[in-house]
Subunit: 345 residues, 4 copies
């Protein structure tokens, strides 16, 4: 089968690889009909993810059709159309029992990381009963690909950890795909204000269309001032960090109100300054999280009931044969205006 | 009246000052019968608290007897024995309505800071109805002094923010008065383990008597290893920072388990490193808080029902005339073994 | 001044009464510019509310202009335009401190009940700082009248107590004004389904326009079957009782899913059957509440940010001179199709 | 093997039955070393539990040694010493994912109910990975039998649902084994008062030894008065119903404070009156629950750390050969003073 293989830092190729086989009774083999590329895949290609070694098939998102199941799989059978979760979960270990699937003792984010992933014709899914979801009748399968990772990540790490509530004020620092996904899901809770902050006017324009009540271009270094002015000097109840660099985390600290929350989504490669000399008495909370995908059932319900439309996140479509082009397009988003690129079998 | 007055960095004296008078209808004047010295008073004396200016009477803790009340005070009358809260709260502003009294728009921690405090024969208490508590019949007034600040601070900033639960594992970094107060109040929730960490063997011995299940001397720089060994490599559910310097905050980051909480109590003078490159995917929460004293009614109930005995926190007693000696004793705790020093009228 | 006075069961009249005066330093006198009639006013007129005695000016909703304030009022001054809360709260008693203003020791629902109310040219508002809200610049004052009682009641007793969440399924039993207000505010949380149940097709048609995803006419006695069919036999996550009679409470018990919540809004005059023989092992919660109006600040923010439009609840408008006609219209809602009737000074 | 078999209403016998075998890959066979009798077993024997049919081996509590495991069991192997949970949980279905194991689509309370149970030499445990717990090194296995059902039931249905908090006031109506287990676990949260109410002075004397701060004999019909007197007319924050008849549920309604919770543990055979005409405006919560056993890991930790000592619940010991005597003793608790009777292999 065809597969996109990581060959060490800055190297990848579309190769022919053997079709995966069931290795545990809880496995399923899924024929991948649609997948996509995540910012994390680009991190891997920079060599930043040591758990992902040369020879690995990348990809942790997608929808497909069950090809085969192990003896202990009870919820799925061959032919079922399924959504693939980016997180594999046994459902039984200490962390799964507390719904922290991201830290499953035999799962977590392993797809396209420590085991082969979804950017291929077939993928082996461990703990299939907990890690696949039936595609609801009539659902748009393209839209569903956004439920593998980006939407639960934005919702859990950003919106739920950020305790977004009706009438509150939210700032999302970073208007890339994950920031926009936070913008979409924050609206589940009817905040009064969602201020999107980015360096790129194009992305801010997209944010406006997606429901931002205000946008701020941080290029002039005065974003904090602009937020404070807009919030009567109070700052925001929730600051969502959706970039992953020290400067954006610094900005979150500058704009969070007393009693507010900084919810980190960004993948950080270096330490940051935490201004406890200013924040120690400000009653703030700061959260980090690898997505647990516990919100996937909720997201499926909101999607089916038209409370969520993730389709506009998809800007480009490619066939698997042209996945290298898809990577090019996604990696140069500033020029291509790419958000999420869909890859079809 | 006699009062301990701050005269600028490193200077203080016991002076004669006019008795305070009611300036707002919600004020009360309280004759102070017992007060104490807080670590924050030492911070002020170092010049670290710019809101506190020369000429200020220090002190924000104590019990006393109501001497006079303003026209709008309804809950107290002259002669009532009262506990003084370190935080003044109007009860009506936006922050008070969300129970964040520490950020009351006309209150917060102002006593002995931006207005004159309790280390004097009399003190003016603004917003008296919300900022004083009746002393329950039969209560030990010495013990009650510990409810002005140190116990609600430890409980709210450490134990409640740290989400201590039955069966969980807690580490408290710092075994001074505030760390010991966290140790006392953490036991409300029956954690399986409370590990106290400090540099001073004497304080760790006190911690053992106060209920610590383990103590670790961090002098050898291997405290994190010791905690990880004791917790089967998982770390602690709750790490309470009770010192306020970068090294102890660093230790908290090293020992917090996935899914755990770092609850900061310490007053920090400089920024710290936050290792988001290690913590971004660890599902941790980090909290800061200036005590709101919303837990004072709960603490009064636990005290009256013998679930809490704060008396052992008091190690020395002085008359107000000798408050300068009390400061000496408290400031040199390593030699004097002082925890809290009580000052009686 | 003109005032609508309760004269004992089934008797009321528009009378001339003296203008109220300030009796406590925390009082304000408000010139009422708009008020409305509540279902509870009809209860009073039936003689069902023993705390309300003959001679009482009715009404607990409205907006107006501050005419005078007592010496201890700090948040308002003469000339301020204000929203009047149906609940008066001192902010200082045990219950106010836990945000249960409805059970304030010197307040609660007293307006138009145990003290004179708002269906008059002027009204005295006790605890004015906590019981009035400034009218935001540019706000529609008609719409704001809906924030005195009906919207916080629906939100707090129905939606918040009912724990409405994104993607969940809600049934609201009763599509009168309070049920419709629950329908409006439930949408803050993006539930997948809101099923409105009533006997009146006209009210169900209104519900459809207000955002119901389904309506069920319960006249045939088969509403429970219809709900179970629509929910794949599971029942609803949240059943909101918005009528106040045994039959509707019975229906809620029949349709609540395992793990679900029955949130009671209705004012009940008689006891009901609780089927613990069926529910003891169903993991359900049942809540009751008199509105605390703690959500008023949230509602004001959602109103100002266009997340809430309560204006369609207003179906009729009258001058205070014709308030008896307003009562007629409101009391015969089945014929008049009245929801809320607005009364202007 | 020997087994206690239900033979229809009021009939049971100790019979010889075939040893169970593995029927699903997730099954384990456990050699039962200790079991006990539950009040629910007596309900079955009265014919009150229609899901339990003639021929069923009773019992849903116990500890033992794993005899054999199915191919998909990963957490246990033959020879492991295990605690058996009264609830079987697949861990994967919609209800298990929300931690409502009691309503697992292929589990729940099935042991000794719809499948054969633990009052036998061997038992088949479905979903073994989720339904067994390793016995911690050094744990007292007798005490652990109390963690199969009675302690998680008391904790989850009574204490956690009842939101017991430090300093609060609790009443437990019913001082039988389940009420006493609630008394033990309520102390995890340091309430100020735990008032035990029963008709039997002997049981109340036991309650005193177990930590009750007050006991009330309700024989005189004046228990509500006594509680109100003891609580300054306010009532209790948490009323735990631990009997299951209308009179005790009525008492809970009479004594619950405004803003309080009634947490039902009792198994009810008939409907009860709910006084919504008195409670509609009292801001109360009422909860029901079949134990989910999600608290078992927490209970194991509290047991191992000596925060919980359930051993005193065990009053009698029998060999399996004499289980009929054990039933006699347990069924006549008023005379025998039995709480829990232990049955050893």
């Amino acid at each position: 089968m065809k597969a996109l293989v990581y060959l060490g830092p800055h190297r990848k190729s579309l190769e022919d690889r053997p079709k995966p086989v069931i290795t545990a009774p809880t496995d399923a083999i899924v024929k991948v009909t649609r997948t996509t590329i995540c910012g994390t895949d680009l991190h891997i290609l920079k060599g930043d993810v040591p758990t992902c070694t040369s020879g690995r098939i990348l990809g942790h998102e997608g929808v497909g059709i069950v090809d085969a199941v192990g003896a202990a799989v009870t919820a799925f059978k061959a032919g079922d159309r399924v959504l693939i979760s980016c997180v594999s979960a046994c459902g039984k270990c200490v962390n799964c029992r507390r719904q922290m699937y991201s830290h499953c003792s035999t799962g977590g984010w392993i797809l396209g990381n420590s085991i082969d992933g979804t950017q291929a014709e077939f993928v082996r899914i461990p703990h299939a009963d907990m890690s696949l979801y039936p595609i609801p009748a009539g659902a748009d399968e393209e839209a569903l690909v956004m439920l593998s990772d980006i939407l639960p990540t934005a919702l859990e790490c950003g919106v739920l950890n950020g305790r977004v509530q009706p009438g509150c004020t939210v700032a999302i620092v970073g208007s890339g795909p994950i920031g926009l996904a936070a913008l979409l899901t924050a609206q589940f809770y009817s905040p009064a204000e969602i201020i999107m902050i980015d360096l790129d006017e194009g992305r801010l324009a997209v944010a406006k269309r997606f429901g931002a009540t205000a946008t701020i271009n941080s290029r002039d270094g005065k974003a904090a001032d602009a937020v404070m002015k807009r919030t009567a000097g109070l700052g925001v109840d929730t600051a969502i960090e959706a970039v992953g660099v020290p400067a954006t985390f610094e900005l979150c600290q500058q704009i969070v109100a007393a009693g507010g929350t900084i919810a980190n989504i960004g993948v950080h490669g270096v330490k940051v300054d935490l201004h406890l000399e200013q924040l120690w008495d400000r009653n703030i909370s700061l959260t980090t999280r690898l997505v647990d995908t516990v919100s996937t059932p909720m997201l499926l319900k909101t999607l089916c009931s038209q409370k969520l439309d993730p389709k506009p996140l998809i800007t480009h479509r490619f066939k698997l044969d042209h996945i290298l082009d898809a990577y090019e397009t996604f990696a140069h988003a500033a020029e291509t205006r790419a958000l999420k690129v869909l890859i079809e079998a």
